[in-house]
Assembly symmetry: C2
Homo-oligomer: 166 residues x 2
């Protein structure tokens, strides 16, 4: 619990304004995307991303560990989700013969069809909520800033793994 650091470096006016706006975005945008996906396609945003990543992988197959990484999810979360997707016959699990520790997830034909069917309305929503309102130049800036933030976030995750607090 951060001992008694003398005085935190509070945010100044510009930072506070930016933070309030960004805060709204990271709260509302995922909710809006999830809501649309659930309503129009009956699946979670995360389920969609998992299947979309699989659909682009060679043989529509990926190791769970790797799939967890590229979807920014925990292994546990992924395991639960794959269980659900298996019940709907969209994904199949198969242990790898060469290495008994890894298990592979494969997107079925039915799963591929589901991704293809779900993509258009999703893209439409992203376009409407994000890109329709932005100039070309802003899109480039958004990418630059987001990648910068991603860098800080990755560093943060890494440091947590290496230096458990307390």
């Amino acid at each position: 619990m951060t001992e008694r650091s003398p005085e935190p470096r509070w945010l100044d006016g510009e930072e506070m304004d930016a933070w309030l706006a960004l805060n709204g975005v990271i709260l509302l945008l995922p909710a809006a995307l999830d809501s649309q996906m659930q309503r129009d396609n009956g699946i979670t945003m995360f389920e969609y991303i998992v299947m979309a990543m699989l659909s682009e992988a060679p043989g529509r197959t990926l190791q769970l560990k790797r799939l967890a990484r590229i979807t920014n999810g925990s292994l546990s979360r992924l395991s639960h989700v794959v269980t659900r997707l298996e019940k709907r016959d969209w994904v199949r699990r198969r242990p790898l013969a060469e290495n008994g520790r890894v298990t592979m997830a494969t997107l079925t034909d039915l799963g591929y069809a589901k991704v293809v069917a779900s993509a258009p309305s999703h893209v439409e929503t992203v376009r409407r909520l994000v890109f329709d309102g932005l100039e070309r130049e802003q899109v480039r800036r958004l990418q630059e800033i987001s990648e910068q933030l991603l860098g800080s976030l990755d560093a943060d995750c890494a440091s947590e793994r290496l230096a458990p607090q307390r």
Copy 2:
């Protein structure tokens, strides 16, 4: 929803890059903030925001409906959270005499102390994850872009309320 629109307006290269990065941010940043708040202060990010908003309100008191709006949360979610916060003696609920429909939430002294104690580590995290990596100019651009996105999101919410699908 979107019957058989001929062909969706797919994202081009720049948009796709920006989207991937933004997607990572809106997925990882809330998780990182929640994780820090839970670990260091034992409360949810949303609980913190609720109490922080109350702490800045006149009389540390706000109507639930209004509190829901400024915290970007649903009324139901807020009701559950306030119930939890009441159990910890951080917030108190009181129906308004003048208008039996509204109920007010008030931050207690204990709740105020909790916010004050939680703020430094939170600000430190925001600074580390967001602002330490950005130039001044980028902060301004981030604000501009975020506010633009917020505009689209608000319009989206509004349209959903007015035009229920199906």
